[in-house]
């Protein structure tokens, strides 16, 4: 079952649209939204990520696809079929590109396409129940292959940037310390003479 749906521009992480009453019945909606925002920020920093990815977080799982510099992300229960989730995102993507494709690059304010939320709402309902005939058919459809989509953990993903920062910080500290060492050594050398 789909919990959250967000659409953002990859280049700068600007949110473009969001499902309307997504956070209903969801206790930690704010927490997960924060994670999503961090994720978008990571993406906007240009870290090369796969265009399709699943990320586990707590009892839920994020699925996202990146297409045309727009990231479509949804959060579902872990038990929700991955295949359906990606089908859902594909549906959103097709419609979003059809309706707003031309203006995505020029959007200047957050949620510039908030009107899209009605479509998100409608589509979400179609995917709500995994046992409907329509969804079962989709599940059985072998055309859409999701097996190769990588699944990672959210800590891992969000931690990447952090670790890189740490490494670069350490190396720069090493550089400066060694320079100090060199200076001191030279001084010492001079004194000895």
């Amino acid at each position: 079952m789909v919990k959250l749906t967000l659409i953002a521009r990859v280049t700068d992480g600007l949110p473009l649209a969001e499902g309307l009453d997504d956070s209903r019945d969801l206790k930690d909606a704010e927490f997960y939204k924060q994670q999503v925002k961090a994720l978008f920020k990571n993406l906007s920093r240009g870290q090369n990520e796969a265009s399709r990815m699943s990320i586990e977080t707590g009892p839920y799982i994020f699925h996202y696809i990146i297409e045309g510099r727009v990231c479509y992300l949804t959060m579902c229960d872990r038990a929700y079929p991955k295949k359906l989730a990606f089908q859902y995102l594909e549906d959103l993507k097709n419609e979003f590109e059809r309706v707003n494709g031309a203006q995505i690059e020029t959007a200047a304010r957050p949620y510039a396409f908030i009107k899209f939320d009605t479509f998100i709402q409608k589509t979400k309902k179609l995917y709500q129940d995994t046992r409907t005939q329509r969804n079962i058919a989709k599940l059985n459809d072998e055309l859409y292959e999701v097996h190769q989509i990588m699944t990672r953990n959210v800590q891992e993903v969000l931690g990447v940037g952090e670790k890189l920062d740490q490494v670069s910080e350490m190396s720069s500290r090493l550089t400066s310390e060694s320079r100090i060492y060199a200076d001191k050594a030279r001084d010492l050398n001079r004194q000895c003479w």
Partner: protein
């Protein structure tokens, strides 16, 4: 939901800096570095006349004034005039006034212009020696500190400079003169037109006022200050300076000189000994606001970059510089804010989108960038005008400064030139995506609601508004109805007609369906229409008399809590079941006059207040429409509107045939007017002052953040100001109102209104700059709040007492010097205050006692008056009365001759001619009064065959004759000019009791009525109290 300071602590402005902080807020970079400027600022252009007392020097501002004005006025030519090098006064007014307006301090323009004016040493004790005329060039030896400092620092830097304020009268003019220099227009006018009587509001009279109290000894310096106004020999006071009012109320026996001095106040002579039978007051001479509300001009003229006064009005534009001065101002000190006031066509608030830089705000006090900030350091820094912190200019916002210190891109930056702008809010200002407009209707369908016809009108009106609801295609809509049970309606778009679900368990409310009770209007349009079409017939045979209002409210809350939005409640019965049930505590005669009286006017059950708090938290605004002919406890129901930023509309004894049109119009306006959603508002002001109390319909989220789930153009909020420091060291106080909201189109915006007001050291100046509309507005809110905690009489007395105190203070200021013994004097700006005070005491929420207004009407009027913008409030307090018959009989062919609407009559029965036809209009209804001896022709033309019938049963409609068409045109015109409420038309014939009484006579505020005073008595009473020694 949004917080205005996302993730950042907001620093109160007052923590900013010590009073004498060297960094003056308005440091204008280009000037600061140059000695001459400062010097000139200090000295002003004012050619120091020999007699001039030095203390004035610090208030450089006095200089410009003298300089600029002096030319025009004949006056003993002080040496300076002989000096050829003195620039012609007119030139003191910088021709380039426009651009300079950027700088907050009025003196600047002049300084720029005349850097050559001589510079008296700042802060130097009285130098009787005239500054050498030659020294028009800046004196090099001026101490650098004061020089670098912009104008305010002149006040602040040398502590001793402040002394003159309190000690010597002569220093008073200083602040006023400041203002002067800020309107080049005035100065110019003065110089050209010799002795032209200045407009009342103009600083000139004020100037003199300031002088008036001066002890005779010090008179010499004054005169010299005044430059041209009052030539040293008092006898020669130019008649032209007499105020219009003086002439209007003749009888001032003061000699010419005094006339010159007192021109800024009005006086009424009261001939007889107080207490004698003969009132001794000429009722015709009493001031009356027959022109309606006049927006304070001074406010925007002095600071042309201020926002329009329809958005923000201060009770006085002269902010007192000390607590002791503030305590002598007995009127409210504060502001009335109407953040979304409707602008006339073609005037729009510019929208600014800081895409790349984020919104530019002060790091410390979070003030938004505005026209009064100053750029320094070649454009790399900007100084906050409120807390005077120096901020960095973000790289993308950088622009070079030109030679005068202005940014070169100024003309492309509305936020730096306009007092009102809207910023597009970035994501940090959102807790969630912008919500869609949501309308949820909770409709009473019990038997009395059915019988009144309310349901039908409501259903039809909503249906007719579906196309105009804001926010297409996202708008959401939902309905629930209730009697002893709650009915929900599934409006899923795939259905052909709505499904009704009944929940009768009132103790444990649940929502029967997770979705589809609140639906997207564009998708479920046909289902919604089907529902509205069938709603009236669905319940037409309902005989249920109960009302499970509380549980229904809870249910509506549960449905809406996901999104928030507007909850419209249509209530026709006293809530009788479940939580929030109310007792028929009724309007008990015996309670009036006792300590328990106010209990009638406050909510009985805590449920309502708690519920209101919850609703606000979830961004739900409640509008209560009440219709009952019996007691429905508006006091309790209205609480819901009060704390959620909503409104109460009460139609006592609703019958669709009579009130239908009114309900239709007002509901339609409620649904279609531009609304701001999930908003918060904060007003910031400079250091040393602070807003401490807020009055209106909202919930305070923190000490100064107003939570407003919905705001529209018909809502205003009032707030009161206090001084936090004993002495204000700045010359200007800035105010900034920021409303963060979601527009119906789904954009999140911040509307910012900025205004500056001068700090004054003189009580007279405060009076002069008072805005009676704002004063009355705050006053009435305070009085209505007082009725919630004490008796009506106490509330009325407190109004009277404050008026008396303020007039007494004013009298002390002027009367003694001018031997005005028997006359009542009041400031020109507040000449209507006594009358409005009287009207307030006689308004529905405050009038009389048990018998004078039904409790529910009293409460609903109180709730309404708490939200009204200034203009509407004044109209309600002092309605217009217009004679129509003469206009009808006039064979004027001009179709659109609406001048008649401006010919307002005083509200007294003596103005009602029994041969006439009158229109009374208080902004909420029309009463058309037919004189007994009115020509039958007129009546027949207007009413047709019904003209002789009892008028309560007659409705007005357009007939086939010119007269009737004329009347209808007038009514239409009046309604159009004031669309926020529908004026229901009542017809009444002279002598038709009791209707004439409650429709018209009791509203003629100038007449004596029951126990209430008439205008003349009221004035006498106030006068007597004013004259009494404490």
């Amino acid at each position: 939901m949004g917080t205005e300071n996302p993730g950042r602590p907001s620093f109160p402005a007052r923590t900013a800096a010590t009073p004498f902080a060297a960094a003056p807020p308005q440091n204008v970079m280009p000037f600061s570095s140059s000695g001459p400027l400062v010097g000139s600022e200090a000295s002003g252009f004012r050619p120091t006349p020999p007699a001039a007392p030095q203390p004035t020097v610090p208030f450089s501002s006095s200089g410009p004034l003298a300089g600029s004005q002096s030319s025009g006025f004949r006056l003993p030519p002080p040496p300076r005039y002989n000096d050829p090098s003195v620039p012609p006064p007119a030139s003191n007014v910088p021709p380039t006034g426009g651009p300079f307006q950027r700088f907050p301090t009025p003196p600047f323009p002049s300084t720029v212009q005349a850097p050559t004016s001589r510079v008296p040493p700042v802060g130097q004790p009285i130098a009787q020696t005239p500054a050498p005329p030659v020294s028009f060039r800046p004196q090099p030896q001026i101490p650098p500190v004061p020089m670098g400092a912009p104008p305010q620092s002149v006040n602040s830097a040398p502590p001793n400079v402040n002394v003159p304020y309190s000690v010597s009268d002569s220093s008073f003019p200083a602040p006023m003169t400041n203002f002067q220099s800020s309107f080049p227009g005035y100065a110019r006018m003065q110089s050209n037109a010799d002795l032209q009587p200045p407009p009342m509001q103009s600083p000139f009279p004020s100037h003199q006022g300031g002088y008036a109290p001066a002890p005779p000894t010090s008179s010499t310096p004054f005169l010299s200050h005044q430059g041209g106004y009052v030539p040293p020999p008092p006898v020669a006071a130019p008649l032209g300076l007499q105020s219009r009012d003086q002439m209007q109320y003749p009888g001032s026996g003061a000699p010419g000189s005094i006339q010159g001095l007192i021109e800024d106040f009005s006086s009424l002579s009261i001939g007889s000994v107080p207490g004698s039978i003969d009132p001794g007051v000429d009722p015709k001479a009493l001031p009356r606001p027959l022109e309606g509300d006049v927006e304070p001009k001074l406010f925007s003229e002095m600071y042309p970059m201020n926002c329009n006064p329809r958005f923000l009005r201060l009770t006085t534009s002269g902010i007192p510089n000390s607590q002791s001065l503030a305590s002598r101002w007995h009127l409210p000190l504060g502001a009335v804010v109407c953040p979304l006031a409707e602008a006339p066509d073609g005037e729009e608030v510019p929208v600014v989108n800081f895409v790349s830089t984020g919104i530019i705000r002060c790091r410390r006090c979070r003030t938004y960038v505005n026209p009064y900030v100053t750029f320094t350091d070649a454009g790399r820094k900007w100084r906050c005008n409120i807390c005077s912190l120096l901020n960095d200019v973000p790289g993308d916002y950088f622009a070079h400064l030109d030679a005068t210190g202005k940014r070169i891109d100024l003309d492309q930056r509305p936020e730096l030139t306009k007092g009102s702008v809207e910023f597009v809010a970035p994501t940090e200002y959102m807790m969630r995506p912008p919500m869609p407009p949501v309308y949820f209707f909770l409709i009473d369908v019990s038997v009395s609601a059915v019988r009144s016809g309310m349901i039908e009108v409501v259903a039809q009106t909503i249906r007719s508004c579906l196309d105009e609801l804001p926010g297409y295609p996202r708008t959401q809509i939902g309905f629930a109805t209730f009697d002893s049970a709650i009915h929900f309606y599934n409006m899923k778009s795939s259905l052909t007609q709505p499904q009704m679900m009944v929940v009768s368990d009132l103790d444990d409310i649940f929502v029967p369906l997770p979705d589809d009770l609140l639906v997207n209007l564009s998708e479920s349009r046909s289902v919604v229409e089907t529902f509205l079409d069938s709603l009236p017939s669905m319940f037409q045979d309902n005989v249920n008399v109960e009302s499970a209002f509380g549980p229904a409210l809870k249910a509506a809350f549960m449905v809406m809590s996901q999104l928030g939005g507007k909850l419209l409640i249509f209530q026709n019965t006293l809530p009788s079941l479940g939580v929030g049930r109310l007792k028929l505590r009724g309007d008990d005669l015996r309670v009036y006059g006792t300590d328990k009286e106010h209990m009638l006017r406050i909510p009985e059950d805590q449920f309502y207040k708690q519920m209101a708090a919850e609703l606000t938290k979830y961004q739900i605004a409640v509008n209560v429409y009440a219709f009952s002919d019996k007691y429905t406890d508006i006091a309790s129901l209205g609480t819901l509107a009060k704390y959620t930023g909503g409104q109460v509309c009460y139609y006592p004894g609703f019958q669709s045939a009579i009130h239908g049109e009114k309900l239709r119009h007002e509901l339609a306006r409620d649904l279609t007017r531009e609304t701001a959603w999930e908003s918060v508002m904060r007003i910031r002001c400079g250091k040393g002052v602070r807003f401490t109390s807020y009055h209106g319909n909202f919930m305070l989220r923190s000490t100064d953040l107003m939570a407003l789930p919905a705001v529209d153009c018909d809502k205003a909020y009032a707030m009161q100001l206090t001084l936090e420091e004993t002495l204000l060291t700045t010359q200007t106080v800035y105010f900034q109102v920021a409303l963060l909201y979601t527009a119906s189109c789904g954009e999140r915006r911040i509307r910012v209104h900025t205004a500056a007001a001068p700090v004054v050291a003189d009580l007279g100046e405060m009076y002069r700059q008072a805005d009676v509309g704002a004063v009355v507005s705050v006053f009435s809110r305070l009085a209505i709040e007082k009725t919630l905690s004490s008796k009506l009489e106490d509330a009325r007395n407190s109004v009277q007492l404050r008026i008396v105190k303020s007039l007494k203070e004013y009298r002390n200021l002027y009367a003694v010097q001018h031997r005005l013994g028997g006359r009542i004097i009041f400031p020109e700006s507040l000449k209507f205050l006594p009358l409005y005070g009287l009207a307030l005491c006689r308004s529905t929420p405050l009038r009389g006692g048990y018998a004078d207004a039904p409790l529910d009407e009293r409460c609903s009027a109180g709730y309404t008056m708490m939200t009204l913008p200034v203009k509407k409030l004044l109209k309600l307090l002092y309605p217009s009365l217009i004679r129509l018959d003469e206009y009808f009989l006039k064979a004027s062919a001009q179709v659109d001759d609406f001048k008649i609407l401006e010919k307002r009559l005083p509200l007294a029965a003596e103005n009602l001619d029994s041969r006439g036809l009158y229109l009374y209009d208080d902004g909420f209804r029309f009463n058309i009064w037919f004189g007994r001896a009115l020509s039958p022709d007129v009546a027949m033309n207007l009413l047709g065959a019904d003209f002789a019938a009892e008028l309560s049963k007659v409705t007005l409609s357009e007939r086939e004759n010119e007269m009737s068409r004329k009347l209808m045109r007038i009514l239409k015109k009046s309604r159009e000019s004031d669309p926020s409420y529908y004026h229901l038309c009542h017809l009444v014939r002279q002598g038709e009791q009791p209707r004439e009484g409650f429709l018209l006579l009791s509203n003629l505020v100038e007449d004596q009525m029951g126990g209430a005073n008439g205008y003349v008595d009221w004035i006498l009473q106030i006068h007597r109290q004013v004259q009494q020694n404490p």
